[in-house]
Symmetry: C2
Subunit: 125 residues, 2 copies
């Protein structure tokens, strides 16, 4: 079910996604898109995001107990920093997993996810 038409709301959403410097939540994406298209509804944002994940353009970023964020699926392997004060999520380049990792007998690892939690530069006291 590929997208067939280019609408002003979809272009607004694509612009927001194209300009984001950190993973955004559906709510944040809606707010940004409303600047361009004030009447845009949340359902349209969710439909666009689901389409883009299905197309392999976006990936979800899950932070414990919070609504998912979205980021480009084309970034290299990396992890995330979650600010516990402002709730923003930032990208951290490089792999943070221990090098000489040794799993118990019989386990086979395919992927891994790492989230660091703390304060971002804007939220330090």
């Amino acid at each position: 079910m590929p997208r067939q038409r280019s609408t002003k709301q979809r272009r607004a959403i694509d612009a927001v996604l194209g300009n984001m410097t950190r993973p955004l939540s559906p709510q944040e994406i809606l707010e940004q898109a409303k600047i361009e298209v004030p009447a845009i509804g949340m359902a349209t944002v969710y439909r666009a995001l689901n389409d883009l994940v299905e197309e392999g353009v976006l990936k979800t970023v899950d932070v414990a107990g919070q609504p998912p964020r979205y980021e480009s699926a084309h970034l290299g392997h990396h992890h995330h920093f979650h600010c516990t004060r402002c709730d923003k999520v930032f990208e951290l380049e490089g792999c943070l997993l221990k090098q000489d990792l040794q799993l118990p007998e019989g386990f086979f690892m395919e992927h891994h996810e790492i989230t660091l939690n703390g304060h971002c530069p804007d939220c330090k006291d």
Copy 2:
């Protein structure tokens, strides 16, 4: 707001939690507790779980895109292995975070979470 009374539903929930061999979801805890107290409601389970987390007895274990699970808060620092075939979560002893970790300027880390994903011994090909 500490707990003050010992009820049969609370004892049933405590028994389920005391016997669990892996992190359980609220739904699973409800089902187990219903065996002892069939009339128990989901609200009671949620209230008990929230109390226990607040008291520092339980911790939540979040697996991307799945309902939260609960584990004892008294286990040492550890991480989790999520089997993508049977969906069980296993404890991995020790810390798996890279040692000489260096954060971007201005970031301060308080905690970190690591989840390895793959196949457990029972689910290998």
